[in-house]
Amino acid sequence: MEGAMDTLSLSGIKLDPVTLERIGRTLIRLALCVGHPELPDAPAGDFEQAMKKAAS
């Protein structure tokens, strides 16, 4: 929900918390019906490399 609030406030749309929560629940309900359970592909990760560099 915090992420959703950010997006909406960035767009200049003001919504009360109750409406926001209803939107959030709707999104979740729809996502669970039509969403894809696989995690999206991440870009080639250089996290491990950064960790190795930070360790040294």
Binding site: M1, E2, G3, G24, L27, I28, L30, A31, L32, G35, P37, E38, L39, P40, D41, A42, P43, G45, D46, F47, E48, Q49, A50, M51, K52, K53, A54, A55
Partner: protein
Amino acid sequence: MTVHALPPTIAGLRYLLANRWLSASEALDAQVAHLQAHAERYRCVTHLFGKPARIVEGGLLSGVGLAHKDIFDTAERRAGCGRLQGRPGLPAAGAATAIRRLESAGAAHLAALTMAEYACGATGETWPALQPVNPLDPELAVGGSSSGSAVAVAAGLCYASLGTDTAGSVRIPAATCGILGLKLTHGLVPADGMYPLAPSLDSLGILARSSPDAALVLASLGHDAHRALRFAAASDDGIAHHLLTQALPRIGSVMAPDVLDSDIAAALQEFIASLGKDKVVPLAVPEMQEMSRCAETLLHVEAAHQHWDRLRHRREELRPGTRAVTEPGAAIPALWYREALARRAAYVERVADQWFGAADIVLAPAMPLPLPDWSEVHTASPSFNPRRLLAMHSWMPFVNYLGFPSIVFPVGVDARNRPVSVQAIARPHGECALLAFAYRIERERYGKHGFAAPAEHVLVQQQADQKATYA
């Protein structure tokens, strides 16, 4: 028949075993009986394994009883993951690597310990029958999700415990029970057999009352980065000596007094002042809020992925805390998830550059507010205060996002005489530096029995009266 108390630390127990004043079998009998006698009082045990059929002699942890968060598969039982009825059946691939390594070192896995369901929760809130009791004060909340681990260690029901930390789940419970909690470097120990919450953030952790005890467990987990520690551990007092002979670290601090409760700020400032005037370099966490948001995004999406079938078809089976972590992940756009992953390496490089050029260890708050009562952070309580609950983990997830090791341990008390803990963070594989630092503080402030004396002492009966007294 003579009755003695077992020493409060593993080092003390190893001394008795090495001098043959006690056998590993006698020590384990006493620890099992003790755990059985007190498990109900603290509600921290979900399954008792008891004394192992085969006792490994000569290992670093021979004769030492440990109990772990119920998130690890064992050869004979699937992890219960904080479910009321556990998860029936045998694990597909045997025991978790972490458990196997400790058992190879001679440790006895005495019990599986309570936890927030599926590791979702900054407190140990769960079904009443499984909700652990804080040995410091029954009114005081127990942090989660490795809640049973913190309670069992603080109560003295075991010497140390493995937990898991995805967004503070080792460090928060340790802080609420006044003991040490060490989150290991992400990926230090293979995660197989450890039920995942969010694999890109999940880390193994160790809860203990004393730094050398945690170091012995770390040495037994067998990563090459800690070969020197393992070598030192071979002799009785080798671990303590190894920790004390580490070079004094350069210390930095990212304390932000303006976001801390005045009591907490005063205790932490006193601690920093005690380290020496001008010895602590002021640093900052670059974009902490952004890193925390990225961690949150990874947590929600991966947790939703992990529990997708349950969310779609059996949502009512999940506790509210589990739903609060998993459900938002179903609706978070894939783009946000990819972005959170893509930014990670740059943040690691940036923070490492800013911090570790000037310091070996960076101090941060563990919790910005005093430890709460259950009545303030239990979501079913009439006086539930979400701000207090959020504060419990506000300084935690960015460390998981970076993948760095981190330790919390008590350094003072607040106005209600409850522990105030500090958090210390090091570069990847810097666990030994963290434990060495913690051990210096432990000795200076708490004496030889560790950060906390066990609430209950293990009593052992011996046949021979002439054996040394070591109570």
